[in-house]
């Protein structure tokens, strides 16, 4: 058998090195890199969450959290749509009564699967007639409703003959799972 020349030996060595590199890359390096990247993003995500939690205790985070708490002083985490809608409507009814407003219409709408911020949107439409003070009471009291999220629509029309009275149409919404 013919002996291998230096060139052949070098070529074989190079091929062996290339094979080791290829196997090493796909077998070890790439999976390690992937796991490393996953770990890094996981670490960053968790760190961000922890920073958010600890950030509300002092500094700018605390001020922001205070403002947030003033805007949303009470809340209940959303549940299934059927239950959430009923709870929201009942609480709103109680608030209307408390404000001394006799609603002519009060209807819960499911909005046909409309979603916002990742939640299902449920609206309660209320219409009727009330005094200016009652309306102010209701609007001030709305944020005490733990299921209330926001106002979709609000139309207030002052009675021309009795300016203390007004007709109103209010659509308020809540989030559900």
């Amino acid at each position: 058998m013919k002996a291998l020349t230096q060139r052949d030996k070098r070529a074989i060595k190079l091929m062996a090195a290339a094979a080791v590199l290829i196997v090493g890359y796909f077998g070890v390096f790439e999976p390690t890199l992937k796991s490393y990247r996953t770990l890094r993003s996981e670490r960053d995500r968790l760190q961000k969450q922890l920073n958010r939690l600890t950030g509300i205790q002092s500094g700018v985070g605390a001020v922001q959290f205070k403002a947030l708490s003033e805007r949303v002083p009470v809340l209940e985490m959303p549940v299934e749509a059927a239950l959430q809608g009923v709870r929201f409507r009942d609480e709103l009814t109680r608030q209307l009564q408390k404000a001394g407003i006799q609603a002519k219409t009060l209807q819960l709408c499911d909005n046909r699967g409309k979603r916002q911020d990742g939640f299902a949107l449920l609206t309660v439409d209320v219409g009727g007639r009330c005094s200016y003070e009652s309306m102010l009471r209701l609007l001030g009291d709305l944020k005490r409703n733990p299921y209330y999220v926001g106002v979709e629509k609000c139309i207030l029309r002052v009675d021309a003959k009795n300016r203390n009275e007004m007709t109103f149409q209010l659509a308020v919404f809540t989030y559900a799972k």
Binding site: L68, S69, V72, L75, D117, Y148, V149, G150, C154, R157
Partner: protein, 470 residues
Amino acid sequence: MKQTEQQRQAAPQAAGVVIEAAAGKIWAAVVRRNGSGFERTYQATFDLKEGLESIVEQIARQAGGAGMPIVVGLESSRLRFLEMTLPPVDATRLPLLIRTQAEAQLPLGGDQMQLAWRMSPGAQGVDCTVAAVRRDTSGELLDRLGIYGPVTAVVPDAAGFAQLRLRFFSPTPQTCVVLRQRADGFAVMLLEGASLVRCAVIGVEPSEAAKHPALAMQDIVMELDAIEKKCGRKVPICLWPGDEPFIQIAADSLRHAGWEAAALEANQGALEQAKLGDQTKLFSPSLDAAGLAILALSETTPGFDFLQVRRMAQPLEDAKKQKTQRVRTLGIIVLLLLLCVAVDHWSLKLQVSQLSRELAAEADGVKAETLLQRQNYQEAAARARLDVLELTETIQNSREGLVLDSLEFEMKKPVKLTATAGDYAQVYGFQKRLETQNGVSAVRLIDPRMDERTKQVRFTMQFHYKHFTK
């Protein structure tokens, strides 16, 4: 692999290689022993771009002589020979001493040239002739050449002719100068037996030299004077090939100047027996290559061996040690890198598990994760929540005597209000004040109309409020 002197002298065949960097070519010849003589068995020309190491392998493969000694010849026209006298010093200090003196004589830094030398006893210490080559094409080739590879020596190509002179030419004095016509000019070689002592190439086209011999002769005489100074006497001159026009002129001129000059006669019989006959009149470097191959097989220790100088600077053990050291260092670096990656990976895992633990911890029966979800929901609700009271307050702050009739707000639509004012100025004042309120923008007055009956202006106004109406 390093070849010992005995292995070299017992080898059945050897190769000689001449590098002609200017022509970009390499001439090679393989010579084998034939009784007491030699016989050329192979010759070839290669392109320099193929690389010396690759060519050496090709020669070994094609000539069927794996492991045979190979001597490489550098073109003498690229070499500069210097004379120096050295004090008797320890051999280990020689390279530094020679380099320092060479730097003083040449306009080149030590790292820009490679040196090789030949020493002989002198009147005041040691006489040393140094061959210097610039680290250009040839020098780089030398740098890349493994010092313990198949190449046994790297010498000036004229060393090949020194071997040929004694074997294939008519008898000449033991020490003589050979003026040889080459393709690129004229080589003036001082030879001592089969060894080269000094060489200079006068770079003049032979045809040009024949037309204007004075200029070429001036350079040749200068070199001959330097040789005379070195030897302390006029050394006999042999000229070859004697039938060339300039060589004849030079012989006459030298004789006229008092030199002993005679034509060198080739022994055609011996040349043909060694299968070198066809090259005698072609000035081909292939002839020098054959001479170098003979040098590789002969007992002559090559002078001006650039490889030997490099070996002196780096003995085999050192080279091995250095290689091992390099591999070890590389291994340590790779190991450290792996360690760093592993530590980083491990610390990342630790951080993730620590953070997960902290977030999974319960405070007052509530998990951090639950708190975060509540916070996210709270933020979402705050973003979506319009404070109607705040909106009415904004309008009230700008009202100043106006009577509001209605207020309409719908998500993603401008806020619309209708009101009654005493006059137009009041309306415009209201618009201006409203525009300055926080969160209010793009205030538009729509259809202001004076009611002739009540003498009051009824109007509608639209505006955007924060992000709720956009």
